[in-house]
Symmetry: C2
Subunit: 349 residues, 2 copies
């Protein structure tokens, strides 16, 4: 941990906790992006991919980049899209022992195209993919047994099997004093899936650190206002609530305080995955025992770097990279990252 | 049929048969192609797609372009990849009433990348896709009831449900005097799938027109030589055998004669689907009652045009287009099609 202490002493981290492994459970997918802005996929387009992706995969890769021990329980096909993601996660430091290789089904995939309005069109292959074979096996049990923290992505609760696997893992980890973070990471429509609202509510009841984006704050509360929802969540026993507001920054709430971090003015290339990268950094810093202001500052930088790189986890960052990014002014960072950007199509303004 | 008669009179087709609908059963997939030659999909690449694809879809689209009534029994997801294919098949004249829209699973997909050796690397999503829901429903039964001919692609026999659907359709169509064509369209490894050899052998026993490529000629025969296999197949009751040899042309065999068509020297851009396009034209011309030499000539031109266009069914051709193509010299055709090619990356030599 010498590396962290060197970096973090300047930020007032008097001492850091020893952290047991962080785990997450859910989909690994290959993402393919349309190069040109427009609607849908009903004619041949210029595309680029595959990029390793999937919300829990982006999250756990970022936790690994911060330097914490971590693992993902997932499943991929025995194909290049699966090996692409496994190789990336392994080389970034994620324990990949609980990623099943399914010989029958393909690795999940997601095609994404941006509209000029910023909305996105998708073609997903998740439910019929290898993701559908995520299950509790010996490798998953070993990873759960070692874990001190579990992060739950709402988007990953796509099958009753995953829901029960996640709930069992939460129960075990909490029983030995571990903690739970939860990112609903979903849209209102997901509540229409039978049993989904109850599953999300049960996860929320076990949550220590809640990380909703924008309107997800009130997705599962009786309160309809932001202030009311925060009071309700903290009153129900959640220790910390972090509201991610994308390009508008983020706010942290617990029973003692509220703090806010302003957005960083960056050149947005690809927002996909930025919230997951933010979450990975926040959870890692929070588990290390950093003060909330520092967690927010690093997480905010993580999200800012993520949107500047094309590809869902291509902009994931080490703590050293976040330090460098935070130490230069935003304009300088913009220029530097623009130069590094994989979209080398000429100067951007 | 005036159109055909006008075109075909020059070729000695004294009179054409009235043709009942041609049907096929099997996968519709979206194809995504790597732009650059190389191996596999383990890093982000330039891609182009989606293109409507799937061997039976390419085949039946070509039958429709020749002008015959035809239908496909298939299934796609309720996504842009599915609608892309449905729209294309419908606009080319295929009866799409028996294409199921599955609301849960994604449309099948296939990523293809060419190596410098001409070999191809794939990432397939078929077995867990909407293709896995192909079944006999009311729409499929109606299409089968109307059919005078069924074309079987060996690659489509990927599940026991499809095998039994195909076999039932063959039985019904043969019982009322209809005919069967069969393209094994597979590799030796497919024979390792339990029950596959028996299924292919049962289809072959019902086949009137057999269209193997290269070494597929001996895939299901006791004979190991080409001549021996042809004698064995004709002796077993198959009326006609057409051996597709890709860039080396094709040969036709029946009990009375053998005829051959020389390859057309074309500028190959993308061979994917050329054999299926060849098959669609051959089967359509054969059903129309054209002499084998004419069937071969049109089918050969169909395959030649197909390889000159990027995309599996982008080079499918109407009879008028085949006429034009056959009436100009090969060099002129090359120049003309190169200009039309969707790969507009500059002049080609």
């Amino acid at each position: 941990m010498a590396h962290f202490l060197d970096l973090l002493d300047d930020h007032g981290a008097a001492q850091l906790r020893v952290v047991k492994p962080v785990i997450t459970i859910g989909e690994i997918v290959a993402e393919i992006m349309a190069v040109d802005v427009g609607e849908g996929f009903r004619s041949p387009l210029r595309l680029i991919g595959p990029y390793p992706s999937g919300a829990p995969a982006i999250f756990i890769d970022q936790v690994a980049k911060i330097g914490l021990p971590c693992a993902i329980i997932s499943a991929v096909g025995n194909d290049d899209f699966g090996w692409l993601s496994i190789d990336r996660l392994r080389s970034d430091g994620v324990d990949i022992s609980a990623i099943r290789i399914d010989n029958r089904l393909a690795t999940g995939s997601a095609f994404v195209r941006y509209r000029s309005t910023g909305e996105r069109d998708f073609v997903f292959n998740i439910v019929g993919s290898a993701c559908s074979t995520i299950r509790r096996d010996a490798a998953a049990s070993a990873v759960i047994a070692s874990a001190g923290h579990i992060h739950v992505m709402g988007s990953s609760l796509f099958s009753p099997a995953v829901v029960s696997l996640v709930e069992d893992a939460i129960t075990e980890i909490k029983a030995r004093g571990g903690t739970v973070s939860f990112d609903p990471n979903g849209r209102k429509e997901m509540l229409d899936v039978p049993g989904m609202r109850d599953a999300l509510a049960r996860v929320l009841a076990q949550t220590d650190l809640f990380l909703p984006s924008g309107e997800e704050l009130t997705l599962l509360t009786r309160a309809h206002t932001d202030d009311g929802a925060i009071a309700e969540l903290l009153g129900a026993g959640i220790r910390s609530v972090v509201v991610k507001q994308g390009a508008a920054g983020a706010t942290y709430h617990d029973r003692e305080r509220t703090c806010r971090v302003a957005p960083m003015p960056v050149n947005e290339v690809d927002p996909t995955g930025a919230g997951d990268s933010f979450g990975g950094t926040f959870v890692a810093c929070w588990l290390l025992g950093l003060p909330p202001e520092q967690c927010l500052r690093f997480a905010n930088a993580s999200g800012a770097r993520a949107v500047m790189m094309r590809g869902p986890m291509e902009g994931n960052s080490t703590l050293a990279e976040l330090e460098t990014f935070l130490s230069v002014d935003a304009l300088g960072a913009n220029l530097w990252l623009s130069m590094m950007n994989t979209r080398r199509s000429g100067p951007r303004n």
